[in-house]
Symmetry: C2
Subunit: 189 residues, 2 copies
DNA sequence: GGCCCCATGTAAGGTGTTACATGATTTG
DNA sequence: CAAATCATGTAACACCTTACATGGGGCC
């Protein structure tokens, strides 16, 4: 049940239309929660029906013209409640680990190439995250100097949390790169 | 499409009934691919219908008595093909990271306690994996000394891959523990 | 008999993915 | 005007999760 909350978060950060949301799920939000436009439209409909968001009035036909959504008070409350709601971490479920295990049974033919391919992909992703970190959270780290003209308090608190999430992405990709390098070493050695 | 291949792997390691499989998915296999008994029974039915596995003959009523399955040649081939089949890694999709991001928008009330809870869970999981490693892959590491009375070649190759997968689980949990510790530090500091 | 556990299954609902459909606006 | 792109949506299907159903065997 995380998609509706991902959408509420995105809409609170900035009211948007369905397509604009989709774009943002391909960028910053998508770095830790991906979603396609079909999922997003369906969920927008549900959230509106539940009274958590509403479409800003707009004239014109219902099809083919923009519909902007904004979060209502009930939506904000639901999101705040969700942040604190206990929810256990899901067990690991990774196809690549499974494939390595399967290779132990049927042989590892072709697996090494796949590992190399994944290593390249994870290295690219890691580089992308690091570029974002260098751009959005330069040097000084933590609370840091707030960039031009924003209210210092709220800005830096939200920034700190966003940075934390980005660090999560970086560390995860770092894990994959290290694990894949180790695996390939063992294959060759 | 990984569940059928997880089941094929499990059945090749040891032919089993549905319930026995479920048990094994709660232990070793479940450490990197979880599944419930409903998923497993349904998938066993499909795999049998596709001719990849077969039920060993057994008398008695169809309900309430054991049905053992074994993998057919076609099943082994399918699994070997899957090991080499290119499949991109899925983008990250983690509710906890999402919640931290949401906390940046609606406030972090209650979040710290959740992080503590998750930290404890991940520490426990990490300890469990490390205990398994100490038990099944003692000291010498890599190819290592094969334990009593197994054919050296195949045994140690499969062992090496299983160890690699376990290391993946350990490293992943290590990542979570480190990330959560960092997050809590920032919250307090 | 009543209770618990073993073992296999059905049903319903939510989530995610892929493919396609439709109208409006911009661009050559 | 034709083609591409924007923007919103429908349909179908596969998958996962949760809850419940059914029948047998062992135990007190």
């Amino acid at each position: 049940m995380s998609l509706p909350h991902a959408i509420l978060t995105a809409l609170l950060e900035k009211p948007s239309s369905g397509l604009a949301l989709t774009r943002r799920f391909d960028k910053s939000i998508g770095y830790f929660w991906s979603a396609t436009h079909q999922q997003i439209y369906r969920e927008l409909g549900r959230l509106e029906a539940s009274g958590l968001i509403r479409a800003l009035p707009a004239q014109g036909p219902s099809r083919g013209s923009k519909k902007e959504y904004e979060v209502l008070a009930a939506g904000r409350e639901e999101l705040a409640a969700w942040v604190a709601r206990p929810e256990d971490p899901r067990p690991i479920r990774d196809p690549l680990l499974l494939r390595v295990r399967a290779a132990g049974v049927v042989g590892r033919a072709g697996l090494e190439e796949e590992l190399r391919r994944h290593l390249a992909l994870h290295r690219r992703q890691l580089a992308e995250y690091e570029a974002i970190e260098a751009r959005d959270f330069p040097a000084g780290a933590k609370g840091s100097a707030d960039s031009a003209g924003a209210p210092a308090e709220g800005r830096s608190a939200a920034d700190q949390l966003q940075h934390l999430v980005l660090r999560g992405g970086i560390d995860l990709e770092t894990f994959w790169v290290a694990w894949l390098e180790r695996a390939l070493e063992e294959f060759e050695g």
